[in-house]
């Protein structure tokens, strides 16, 4: 449809957006997940395995990958979510590293040599899947579930007193995040026709969290804006060639100094919806 460059860029954007939401879901409830790349790897490998070995339709294979990833998140989330704060962040980090290392040693998916994927999906399919997922998340953000998440971030103790099952809600956010990351992994595997464990390093997880925080977690739009920004900014600095990531890093530092609450804030959204009223009135 477009040139290869634009196509590739749209796919990277789509993958980054899905990943951003996978990290944002737990983060909205105040939990930092530094292991999203591990779940992405699970999704990529499982989907690739089922479409390769059993000839399943790619959509079904990705769905299975997402289920498996969600199941792993559930199994490990139960003990891991007993911790919180930095302990939780590092537990998820360790989990991500272990998941990737397991695939690095798994002979049936090529171990360190990587795993070729025979099924192929085009850019428009990936773009449409992403749009559908984002719309679903926008719908989810209007439900009580999302309200619980923000409430838990603000005060878990009070939430507990009001009868919210804090641990279960947190677990649900963590599992949903794991499933989303797996979808991103499955899509990417079938677009690149290749899965390589080394490409799911810790920095992928860390960058994903960066998208979300840069975009802002106060609104459901924040992660989308952050991911889009992160995808396009290095391209804008392309003229700077080798300096572009250095400029980019300097930009992050400067940005956080000037606007620490992220790009999209709740107050800003209110002002957009109701440009003449005061921000506070519109919030009701």
């Amino acid at each position: 449809m477009f040139s290869g460059y634009i196509d590739g860029l749209i796919v990277i954007l789509a993958i980054n957006v899905i990943m951003a939401y996978s990290a944002a879901l737990p983060l909205v409830a105040g939990q930092l997940n530094l292991g999203t790349a591990g779940f992405m790897a699970v999704g990529a490998y499982v989907a690739a395995y089922f479409s390769n070995e059993y000839g399943l339709p790619i959509g079904v294979a990705i769905l299975i990958g997402s289920m498996v990833s969600g199941f792993i998140a559930l199994l490990i989330g139960i003990p891991v979510l007993r911790t919180s704060g930095i302990y939780l962040a590092l537990a998820t980090f360790a989990l991500g590293q272990i998941l990737v290392a397991v695939f690095l040693n798994l002979e049936i998916v090529g171990a360190a040599q990587g795993y070729p994927v025979y099924g192929y999906i085009e850019m428009p399919t990936i773009a449409i899947t992403t749009i559908v997922l984002v719309l679903a998340l926008f719908v989810l953000s209007q439900t009580r579930f999302w309200l619980y998440l923000t409430a838990i971030k603000n005060d878990p103790t009070v939430c507990d007193l009001f009868g919210i099952e804090v641990k279960n809600v947190q677990l649900a956010a963590f599992v949903l995040g794991g499933m989303l990351a797996a979808v991103a992994g499955g899509l990417q595997a079938h677009y690149l026709s290749y899965v390589e464990a080394q490409s799911f390093g810790a920095l992928v997880s860390i960058y994903t969290v960066l998208f979300v925080i840069l975009g802002g977690t106060q609104t459901v739009l924040g992660p989308l804006v952050g991911a889009a920004f992160f995808t396009f900014l290095p391209e804008v600095f392309r003229s700077g060639e080798e300096w572009r990531y250095a400029i980019f890093a300097a930009f992050i530092i400067g940005f956080m100094v000037l606007r620490p609450q992220g790009m999209v804030t709740a107050n800003m959204m209110r002002r957009i919806k109701n440009p003449f009223g005061s921000g506070r009135k519109a919030s009701a």
Binding site: P79, V80, A89, L90, A101, E242, W243, A249, A250, I253
Partner: protein, 298 residues
């Protein structure tokens, strides 16, 4: 086998230094400073650049040390100073920005390849029966433990050290009691930069290689060592660092190099689930950290 234990301890000594730096930053400032692996890398890379330019090694190490200290102070100005009043994840993100910035600047000038670090100190080997111990490795182990001991004494006995511990308890109260927080906080960053840089130089000398990304793996292992030993405990950092070094070398020896991540991070995950306060940490420290506005929660 015994040789592997020695190698593990030597490798662990580098993790010890990084774990101590992280433990200072988190235990005192409640701040997971992601720029530490960058400062570690600066120590090794700047020394390498200068030595290949023909600067005498001693001078090269001194300049690299000062560069890392200077950069640590810049990080303090632009991350932690701005933390006051803002959300807690902000300095985390901007310190990560610094890590990327340091790596990319060196990448632009020197490329991403591993560079061979010249042999700068006379490396005698001590042989005990079948065991071979490099003098450089032994130096790094002794130096690491000496530095950690020094930091521990400094925090326990000096006036400034007491001030630092008061800030760790409660910044506002410390300020009321007449501690100049604005002067003590940069000092902590300065110590972080200095110790991280020494770690980077020791790594460069011991393993004879440097690269712009040398800090990442070591940084992650250092954080793991800190958690395993017990966050906020200086002696825990030593135990954790050496344990990670041993685990790494042993799993290479018995299982192969692809299993390193599974054993090291598996150990971390098990410790976090079974005993989150770490081997030497007090449950109390953990409570305090959890109560005082979870560091990483948004």
């Amino acid at each position: 086998m015994e040789q592997q234990i020695i190698n593990g301890l030597m490798l662990g000594s580098v993790y010890v230094l990084i774990a101590v730096v992280f433990t200072l930053s988190i235990g005192i400032l409640n701040f997971l400073n992601f720029s530490i692996p960058g400062l570690f890398m600066l120590g090794g890379m700047v020394a390498w650049v200068l030595i290949t330019m023909g600067v005498p090694p001693i001078l090269a190490f001194a300049i690299a040390f000062l560069v890392a200290c200077g950069c640590a102070l810049i990080v303090e100005r632009l991350t932690f100073s701005w933390m006051k009043g803002s959300d807690h994840e902000v300095p985390l993100v901007s310190s990560l920005g610094f890590l990327i910035l340091f790596e990319q600047i060196l990448l632009v000038f020197y490329g991403s390849d591993q560079q061979a670090f010249p042999k700068v100190i006379f490396n005698a080997t001590i042989t005990l029966g079948d065991l071979v111990i490099g003098s450089a490795q032994l130096l790094s182990l002794v130096l690491s433990i000496a530095i950690v001991y020094g930091i521990n004494r400094f925090l326990k006995t000096t006036r400034v050290g007491r001030g630092i511990r008061a800030i760790a308890e409660d910044t506002t109260t410390a300020e009321f009691l007449g501690i100049n927080v604005n002067r003590v906080v940069p000092l902590i960053f300065l110590i972080s930069g200095a110790v991280a840089a020494i770690g980077g130089m020791l790594f460069a000398v011991n393993y004879s290689q440097v690269s712009p990304f040398m800090g990442e793996e070591v940084g992650f292992k250092g954080i793991s060592a800190m958690i395993i030993g017990g966050m906020g405990s200086v002696w825990g950092a030593i135990a954790g660092g050496l344990l990670i070094g041993l685990t790494e070398v042993m799993s290479i020896y018995f299982l192969g190099s692809d299993f390193v991540d599974i054993s090291v991070y598996g150990l971390l995950l098990i410790i976090l689930i079974v005993r989150p306060q770490g081997l030497f940490g007090l449950a109390q420290v953990r409570e305090k950290l959890l109560c005082s506005a979870d560091i990483l929660t948004v």
